[in-house]
Each structure stands twice: as structure tokens, then as C-alpha cells.
């Protein structure tokens, strides 16, 4: 995205091939220009209880793919996060989400906006419908929010009986707000790391933040270091959402599971995880994958 104008960024015709090219170019750029030694992040969907050492800076770039159950690329969604992390003390780190953005099919909220724009747009919609073709969603890239994340380490997974930390996150955008809290638990047995996160998340979406939702989730991960630079393992995500903060509106619980791998180099780390939905919930994505590339400097 570094090389695109604002108009290109917002262009609904911006293709997925262009999108992939931009992501790869951005990653290659960051890979090449940043010096330093990287920390290690073993999981893509779990947080560990250890925090960045005091005074250390890190940049993380996230890419998440959510594959539509329709198995049609036009319905897949890509989410991106550009994050800067700083170790305030050996037990406390702060991260700023410079930008959370996505490349996804646009739904009803944009349609409403388009309709409000007036007759010219309405006529163009009618013309499209007259053509009789099946209307595919257009995907476009859009900035979502920026935020801040705080993690305070309480106990150490290597030297204490159980590692623990508390996590808080807040994200705000022009049509999105989110508050999230987590309890992080971890135990390391030499090269084996086991983590568990308990999560509660409050979300407000829409032009007037009118769509409210609370979500409870728990994640679990195991990772084994098979080589000084490589660890492999598995992650599980279990989540359930309650729209309108109402327990009677509970959506079906979703459960995802799959493998992960992390490579830790001198100047960077790359962590990837792919999770498949194991519950029969046709409305949800049937696979999600995440890659995180981090650089410490």
C-alpha cells in the first residue's frame, strides 16, 4: 500500500492480484530496510505471557485471510494490521495499531450510502439489474480503525509455576469501536510452550455505532521448538457472539483448529497459522489463516 494513491486504495475495481502484489511488496520492503534482532512470537491467534524487554521496539505486520464458505474468492476477506510495539519495562509493553484495514466484500452499509447518494446512482443500479446477471459483491480496501494494546506480565512461564499476564486493547474508527480484555496463561516445559487466552470483547459498528455485540472467546495453543529457529504446533479458537449485548441473541459457537509454524531469524520472525472451522455453522468463514511478520530494532 506504500506505493498507492488514495484513489487507487479506495477503488472498488482494485483487484485481488493487485492486492497480493502490494502486500508482498510491502513485506519485502519492510524485510529489507529494518535492522536489528527479532523477538519470538510462536502463535498467530494466541498471545504469550512474556512481554518485550525494556526499551525494545518491534514492528509487526499482520495479514489474516477469512475464506468464505461459498468457496468463491470474490467473497473472501483480507484483514491487515500494522503495529508498533515498545517494552516500557521488563513486565509491561504497549503497542499502537497504526492501522487496521481490510480488503473485503462490501455489504449493506455501503449499499445504504450509495442509495442515499441519489437518482444517478439508483439508475445505474437499475441498469445493472436489467442486465440480468448475478450481482457479485465488489471488494475494496478500507481503513477500519487504529488502536492501542497494553500487556502487563504478572508471572513468568519459565521460572514460575504458571506464567500469566493481563491484556487490554481499544480500537476506534469512524464506524467501529472495540474494547477487549484478555487473561493470558502460559507454561513452558523447555522447548514446549502451552498457552491459553480467555477473551471478552465489546464491539460497536455502523455509521452511528448502533450495532452492538459482545463476544466471548478462548484460545489454546501448543508449540514445540524443533530447531533453534523453528517451532511448530497447533492452535484452537472457540468463540461465541451475543449481538445487541443480549444473551438470547447468542449466535452459534464457532470452533476453529489447525497447525502453526514460526521461524525466528536474526532480524525477524515469521509466524503462520491456518485454522479450519470444525463446527457446522454455514454463516461463518470455513477457514482462516494468519501470517505475522515481526522485526525488532
Amino acid at each position: 500500500m506504500l506505493f498507492l494513491s488514495h484513489q487507487q486504495f479506495a477503488d472498488p475495481m482494485f483487484s485481488s492480484t493487485q492486492m497480493k502484489t502490494c502486500v508482498l511488496t510491502a513485506l519485502a520492503f519492510v524485510w529489507c530496510v529494518l535492522p536489528g534482532d527479532a523477538g519470538q512470537r510462536r502463535f498467530a491467534y494466541n498471545y504469550e505471557t512474556t512481554t518485550s524487554p525494556k526499551g525494545s521496539w518491534e514492528i509487526e505486520n499482520w495479514v489474516t485471510l477469512e475464506r468464505s464458505p461459498l468457496h468463491d474468492n470474490d467473497y473472501d476477506s483480507w484483514f491487515f494490521r500494522n503495529e508498533v510495539e515498545y517494552g516500557v519495562t521488563d513486565h509491561f509493553q504497549i503497542a499502537v495499531y497504526v492501522a487496521n484495514w481490510d480488503f473485503a466484500p462490501r455489504g449493506g452499509e455501503e449499499k445504504e450510502e450509495v442509495e442515499a447518494e441519489g437518482a444517478e446512482t439508483a439508475e445505474s443500479h437499475e441498469a445493472e439489474e436489467d442486465e440480468g446477471g448475478e450481482e457479485k459483491p465488489h471488494r475494496s480496501a478500507r481503513y477500519g480503525s487504529s488502536g492501542v494494546e497494553l500487556i502487563y506480565n504478572l508471572t513468568n512461564p519459565n521460572t514460575d509455576w504458571l506464567g500469566s499476564a493481563v491484556y487490554a486493547e481499544a480500537n476506534f474508527g469512524d464506524r467501529f469501536a472495540e474494547l477487549e480484555g484478555k487473561i493470558l496463561l502460559q507454561k513452558n516445559f523447555g522447548p514446549l510452550a502451552i498457552v491459553y487466552n480467555a477473551i471478552v470483547e465489546f464491539e460497536w459498528e455502523g455509521a452511528h455505532l448502533e450495532a452492538e455485540e459482545i463476544e466471548f472467546a478462548q484460545t489454546f495453543g501448543v508449540s514445540y521448538q524443533v530447531h533453534p529457529n523453528v517451532a511448530v504446533g497447533s492452535e484452537l479458537v472457540h468463540e461465541i457472539a451475543f449481538p445487541d449485548f443480549n444473551k438470547s441473541n447468542a449466535e452459534r459457537a464457532e470452533f476453529f483448529a489447525g497447525p502453526n509454524v514460526t521461524f525466528h531469524g536474526k532480524n525477524f520472525f515469521v509466524t503462520a497459522s491456518a485454522l479450519w472451522r470444525t463446527t457446522d455453522n454455514s454463516g461463518a468463514e470455513d477457514m482462516q489463516a494468519r501470517v505475522i511478520v515481526g522485526f525488532e530494532f
Partner: protein
Amino acid sequence: MSILLLTGCASTVPQVTQQLVMISGKPAALLEEGRRLYGGPCSSCHTPYSPAEYSAAKWVRIVADMSERSKLSDAEHDAVLAYVLAARSMPPAAR
């Protein structure tokens, strides 16, 4: 099965015991500080290696290299080095 697995993955950051203090001849406070750094800030960047994994000479080089990369002070360097050398000199059964 799981007990076997966990037993096989014994702590790579052993505790500072009286035996460890006696064997190393270093002050307990220094070894405790070394353990805190080795199991804390050091392990936030990489999995801590078992002290027995490398020779004493190699640990001297590793700790010097890592201290420079992670900007440890001289006192912190000395504490980490004292701790890993003490821990690696422990008999396997006592680790």
C-alpha cells in the same frame, strides 16, 4: 503419556538452590538475578536453552554476543553468565 512428555521437557531455567550456590561459589543474589534475566527478558526473544546444552567456553561467547545484541549492562551480563555456568555445572539429577 502426557506426564512422560512433560517430564522429558524439564525446566531449562532451574531454580537457584543452596547446592547451586555452593557449587558455583557465587552469591545467591547474583544467581537469582541471572535466573530472572535468563528466564524473563532473554526468553521473551527466544526459548531459553538448557544450560547443559553448551560447553562453558561456548556459553561465555553466547552470553557476550547476546548481551551486546540485547544491550545488557556489564552487571546483567555477569549475572546471566554466572547463572548459566552454575546451572550447567550441576549434576543432571539435581537440575
